[in-house]
């Protein structure tokens, strides 16, 4: 049983590798003229999926309303970028015996680990005091955290401050981004279906009852928060190494709300809903480019209409990836 499960990993890696090869053959250097444009959207969609799926763990599954996700995204992006920009030359000379691509991959993995750890640490620091709060108060604390991170970054000259961080190597590609997507989906799906996930659901439904059942409420909430932050950090690491440039305009609270819209649109608490929501929110504004100046109006209108006709989100409570969610 467990052996069979582990077999999935090489299979997934091979599939991702093939897709990566297909991407570069067809989209980047291939016959499809607008390929690089589609590739760009594909990668941004992948990064948004990781963000949405991870935020869904706190906001959807555990029911803690956090609106500072862009803050963790930023921490991951900047820390990872620092590792590859400032540590890059050292690591390259250390790994001199390996081929160039492998060196890049190793550097990206290191940067990702750094980004994930830093974001998780930030999650822990914010989570421990603030998850004792509920509802609106938690929202305010997380919003404040996101803004603090952004203003801090603006004041650090080593990461470019207000000019933005330039010179980040382009290391992430389809393989890494969608590897991240698969990892985020699988890990969060398994978590939600474990005893731990059921405990989180019970916290969402009724915190006092959950406490009465002997669930250490705060500890579980902090754990969910830290895991969610860690994945946001991973998304950040992949983002920075794709755009090769970081600027705090990408990490404003508007970004946090965009992620919330993704999971609300897909269906709060539904994993596949988060995935679908992220795809729709990334692709929809691009589709409407034809309408030029009315683009954002039509986009907002489309969102309003979806929420009127489908208030529970596109996928509602249902889930493709985890059978029916929750106890009912």
């Amino acid at each position: 049983m467990s052996l069979k499960r582990w077999l999935y990993i090489p299979v997934i890696l091979i599939v991702l590798g093939l897709l990566q090869w297909a991407c570069s053959a067809l989209l980047l250097d291939g016959p499809i003229r607008q390929g690089p444009y589609y590739y760009q959207i594909l990668i941004l969609a992948g990064i948004n999926i990781i963000l949405a799926v991870s935020l869904n763990l706190t906001n959807g599954v555990a029911g803690q309303f956090s609106i500072g996700h862009a803050g963790f995204f930023a921490v991951g992006a900047y820390v990872a970028a620092c590792i590859s920009v400032y540590g890059g030359p050292g690591i390259h000379s250390l790994l001199g015996f390996m081929p160039g691509d492998a060196q890049g991959a190793a550097l990206l993995v290191l940067a990702m680990i750094g980004g994930v750890l830093a974001a998780a640490l930030a999650g822990l620091v914010v989570g421990i005091p603030s998850l004792r709060l509920r509802g609106d108060y938690l929202a305010i604390v997380t919003l404040g955290f996101g803004e603090i991170i952004r203003v801090l970054i603006l004041n650090i000259e080593a990461v470019g401050g207000a000019r933005g961080f330039i010179g980040i190597p382009k290391l992430s590609n389809f393989f890494w981004v969608f590897g991240g997507v698969v990892a985020a989906i699988l890990i969060i799906r398994n978590l939600t279906r474990s005893g731990y996930g059921r405990a989180l659901l019970s916290i969402r439904e009724d915190e006092i009852a959950a406490q009465a059942m002997g669930i250490p409420v705060t500890r579980y909430k902090v754990m969910a928060f830290v895991i969610s932050a860690a994945f946001a950090g991973m998304a950040g690491a992949l983002f920075g190494h794709f755009t090769m440039y970081l600027h705090t305009n990408s990490f404003t609270f508007v970004k946090s709300f965009e992620i919330i819209i993704m999971i609300a649109l897909g269906g709060l608490g539904s994993l596949s809903g988060a995935v679908l929501g992220a795809i729709v929110i990334t692709v929809l504004p691009e589709l409407f480019r034809e309408f030029s100046e009315y683009r954002m109006v039509i986009y907002s209108l489309a969102l309003i209409l979806i929420m009127i006709f489908r208030p529970q989100g596109l996928l509602g409570n249902a889930s493709l990836l985890g059978r029916k969610r929750g106890g009912k």
Partner: protein, 383 residues
């Protein structure tokens, strides 16, 4: 049951998105048109800059098309909105280069968005000319990136020169926007140049774009008794700062850079701004006939709206690019790049434009004085 609903919705949404993309996949325009891409913030917090630039570019292209276009073809501008976000700027530039196959790209105003997109233009070897990104790093990206405006160090120096020579002040305070690299650049170069000329910076305070209350910083500045205050920010905050400064009894003139240039500045700041100065790319009141012709036709086209500096730069950037195409006698990106790099003494409305070896424009700046809602021409400061 539920799973089936989920599949239905997921499938439906994906089909709609795919069809949408295929539908958008129109055939490219034929070779009878020359395609030029433009990206800028048409929505978002710096939208007035994007829209003003767009007006200038549109007008320039219409004028050129009316006189037969270039190379015997009409010119078509493809304009894309990046909402002022760096990653959006990358997406639209990727689209313009790969999907629309433009010969050259114009944009952006904000240096951060230009910095995000410039590497893509460089990599695809498509010339990019920015009308108004003043950060020195932008053209350092590579030899396909040009600009037709002066750079931050120059504006800081102009105002330092102006403060020392024309205003004859010795003690100046700085109030800078710490969030904006533009403001930081201006403030740093102002400080350096002003101190080198024997002046003294008595206070150096900061705020963040979006702030509404500046009383703490201004009180601290007031206590140092400066003769003038250098506020190199954007118009929204500058208007508020001027009001609050006057209320606190700071009477000396405020000074700033081209970020002040907007009709909104007076709407927000009102008569608190009387007697304040800022450096700019051009002045509507400049009596030279080229500028007066431009102003007149702009007003005619846009219902009496007078062109701000962004519109003038937009107008110039389009004309400089098309001029390079004419000289290159081709719209091939490499030939256009070569011709652009040889631009010398092009007579634009924002002054004679010569591109130096670092692909930056060498041109004079004007200093304007705010007078009852008008920006009066004060003097021209040569490079």
């Amino acid at each position: 049951m539920k799973t089936r609903t989920a599949y239905k919705w997921m499938g439906g949404a994906l089909i709609v998105l795919t069809l949408g993309f295929l539908a958008c996949n129109k055939k490219p325009a034929g070779s009878e048109e020359i395609l030029i891409g433009e990206y800028g913030a048409m929505t978002g917090s710096t939208a007035t800059f994007g829209q003003s630039t767009h007006k200038g570019i549109t007008m320039a292209i219409e004028e050129l098309n009316a006189t037969g276009g270039v190379l015997g073809k009409q010119i078509k501008i493809l304009s894309e909105d990046d909402q002022g976000k760096p990653e959006e700027a990358q997406t639209v530039v990727t689209k313009l280069i790969n999907k629309d196959r433009v010969s050259a790209i114009l944009g952006e105003v904000a240096s951060s968005n230009s910095l995000a997109a410039a590497p893509l233009c460089q990599q695809s070897r498509i010339p990019m000319v920015t009308p108004a990104s003043t950060n020195p790093k932008v053209t350092q990206v590579g030899d396909y990136i040009f600009r037709i405006c002066f750079i931050d160090p120059f504006q800081g120096k102009v105002m330092a020169k102006f403060a020392g020579n024309s205003l004859k002040v010795k003690k100046v305070a700085i109030l800078r926007d710490i969030k904006s690299d533009y403001s930081m650049g201006l403030a740093n170069f102002f400080k350096e140049s002003f101190v080198a000329n024997g002046g003294e910076i008595v206070a150096d305070e900061s705020y963040s774009a979006g702030d509404k209350d500046f009383n703490a910083q201004l009180t601290s500045i007031k206590s140092k008794n400066p003769e003038a205050v250098f506020v190199p920010g954007y118009y929204t905050e500058v208007g508020l700062i001027a009001r609050q400064a006057r209320k606190l009894g700071i009477t000396g003139p405020l000074m700033g850079g081209d970020g002040w240039d907007s009709e909104k500045l007076w709407e927000i700041g009102g008569d608190a701004l009387n007697g304040c100065f800022f450096s700019n790319h051009y002045s509507v009141d400049d009596p030279s006939p080229a500028i007066q012709n431009f102003v007149a036709s702009f007003k005619k086209k846009y219902n009496g709206e007078s062109p701000d500096a962004m519109s003038a730069l937009g107008y110039d950037v389009a004309k400089v690019l098309v001029d390079a195409m004419r000289r290159a006698n081709s719209d091939n990106p490499d030939s256009v790049r070569l011709a652009l790099s040889k631009t010398s003494g092009y007579a634009g409305v924002t002054g004679a434009i010569t591109l130096n070896e670092s692909r930056d424009a060498v041109k004079p700046a004007v200093v304007l004085e705010v007078k009852d809602g008008k920006f009066a021409f004060k003097e021209t400061v040569a490079p």
